[in-house]
Symmetry: C2
Subunit: 228 residues, 2 copies
DNA sequence: AGTACACAAGTTGTATACAAATACGGTGAT
DNA sequence: ATCACCGTATTTGTATACAACTTGTGTACT
C-alpha cells in the first residue's frame, strides 16, 4: 500500500523545482522584457544576490541563455546582454519563414476545428472593435498573433522543429517588444490573419503556405522598419 | 617595451583552455563514436574521474549535451545516452531537407571555384578507384559526403542557420555511424554528387535545390532502411 | 604631462563539501 | 515464492572556498 502512495507522490510532484531552472526563467524574462538592456553586463555574483541563490545555478542558467543567443559570456567581464542587430533580424526571419511553413504543413492535419474557431473568434472580436472605432491595444493584437503561430508549432509532429522554433520565437518576441510596440495597419493585419484562418479551416495547405510565408515577410518588414 | 611583450603574450594565448569545453568535446566524441552506447547511464562522478577533473565542468558539459539531444538528464540516475528512434531520424532529416537547401541557396554565391574543384577532385578520385574495381572504404566516401554538406553550411550567410545545422549534422553523423557503416550503391552515390557539384559550378540554383533535396531524401532512406 | 608599473577590486573557472533525493539489495512477513 | 519495508550507497542539486585572470585606478618616474 505505501508503495502505491509513494508512486502517487512521485506523480503529484510535477513541479520539477530546481533553482537553475527558476534562474533561467527569471533572467530570460528580464532580458526579453528589457529590464536588462542590450549591452548590460550581468555578473554571476550580482544575479545570485538578486535571486537569493548561489552562483552555481545562476551560472548554469547563463550558459543556457548563451546557447539561445540572449547573452554572450565574456570571460573576465560577465554575461553581456546581446544587442539586436539588423543582420540577426534578417537571419531569424529567414529561418522562421521556412520552419514555420514546415510546421504548418504538418499542423494542418492535427489542429482541431474548435481550436481554429477559438482563434477566429479572437480575431473577429478585435475586428468588431476596430470597426466600431474602439481603441485596440498593441498588446492584445500581439497576443492574438502569437496565438496563431504558437498553435502551428504546438500541433506539428516534429519535436526537434518545436525546439528550434521555440528558441526562434523567443527572439522574435524580444525584437517585437524592443522595436514595434505600436500598431501598424491594423485592418490589414486582421485581414491577413482571417484569410490564413479561413484556409486553415479548409485544410487548404496549397494556398495556406504561400500566404503564411507572405505574412511572415510583412511581419519582418515591420520590425526592420522600426529598427532603424 | 614590456608592455608590448605582455600584449603579444595575450594574443599568442588563443587556447581558450577551459575544462568544461574539453569535457564537452570528449564526452560528445565518446557518444558519437559509440564508446558510450545508447541507454548507458553516465554519472557525473564517473566522468569526472575518467576525465581527471571535478564534477563542475563535467556537469556543464552534460547540460550542453542534453540541449543537443545526445543525452537525457534523469534526476537520481545520471545522464542517459539517448537512443536513436526511427521518429528522430525522420524528424531530423525533414529539418535537414529544408535547412540545407536554404543554406545552399545562399552558399552558391559564396563558394569559390577552387573550393568546388577540390571537392570535385575528391569525388573523381573515388570514381576512378571504383572503375578500376579497387576497394573503396565506407569511411572515405562518408568523409567526402560530409565535405560537401559542411561546405554548404560553412559558406552560407546565416549564422543562426549554421548553429542549427551543426547540431543537426552531429546527430546525422551519429546515425550514419550507428546504422549505415556499409556502402550502398556507390556508383549511384558518386553520380549524384558529381551532378550536384556540376550544378554548383554553374551556380545553377534552380536545378541544384531539387537535386539536393532528392539527395538528402535518398540518404534518409538508406539510414532508415538500415535502422530496422 | 605622459607613460610604465604595481596594486586592488571584481570576475570567471574549478574544486570541494554538504544536503536531499533516488536506486538498490537484503531481510522479513505473508 | 512474492511483496513490502528498511538501510545503505550512489546520485544529483546547491553552497562555498579558492585560484587564475581581467580590468581599472592610482602612483611614481621620466
Amino acid at each position: 500500500m505505501s508503495n502505491l502512495v509513494s508512486r502517487l507522490e512521485g506523480i503529484r510532484k510535477e513541479k520539477k523545482s530546481n533553482l537553475a531552472q527558476t534562474a533561467y526563467v527569471q533572467i530570460k524574462e528580464a532580458i526579453i522584457y528589457a529590464k536588462f538592456k542590450p549591452g548590460d553586463y550581468l555578473s554571476e555574483n550580482m544575479l545570485a544576490d538578486v535571486l537569493e541563490m548561489s552562483r552555481t545555478p545562476v551560472r548554469e542558467a547563463l550558459k543556457e541563455l548563451a546557447n539561445e543567443n540572449l547573452v554572450e559570456i565574456v570571460p573576465g567581464r560577465g554575461a553581456c546582454v546581446k544587442e539586436i542587430s539588423l543582420k540577426d533580424i534578417k537571419e531569424i526571419y529567414e529561418l522562421r519563414k521556412v520552419l514555420e511553413c514546415l510546421a504548418a504543413e504538418s499542423a494542418v492535419s492535427n489542429i482541431t476545428d474548435t481550436e481554429i474557431e477559438e482563434l477566429e473568434n479572437a480575431w473577429l472580436s478585435i475586428q468588431s472593435k476596430v470597426q466600431q472605432k474602439e481603441q485596440v491595444e498593441w498588446e492584445i493584437v500581439s497576443r492574438c498573433d502569437n496565438k496563431l503561430h504558437n498553435l502551428l508549432i504546438d500541433k506539428c509532429n516534429n519535436s526537434h522543429l518545436k525546439n528550434f522554433m521555440s528558441v526562434l520565437n523567443q527572439q522574435i518576441f524580444r525584437y517585437q517588444l524592443l522595436t514595434a510596440q505600436t500598431l501598424g495597419d491594423v485592418e490589414n493585419t486582421i485581414q491577413q490573419h482571417l484569410e490564413i484562418i479561413s484556409l486553415l479551416k479548409e485544410r487548404n495547405t496549397e494556398q495556406l503556405l504561400p500566404l503564411l510565408r507572405q505574412h511572415i515577410e510583412s511581419a519582418q518588414e515591420i520590425v526592420v522598419k522600426r529598427h532603424s
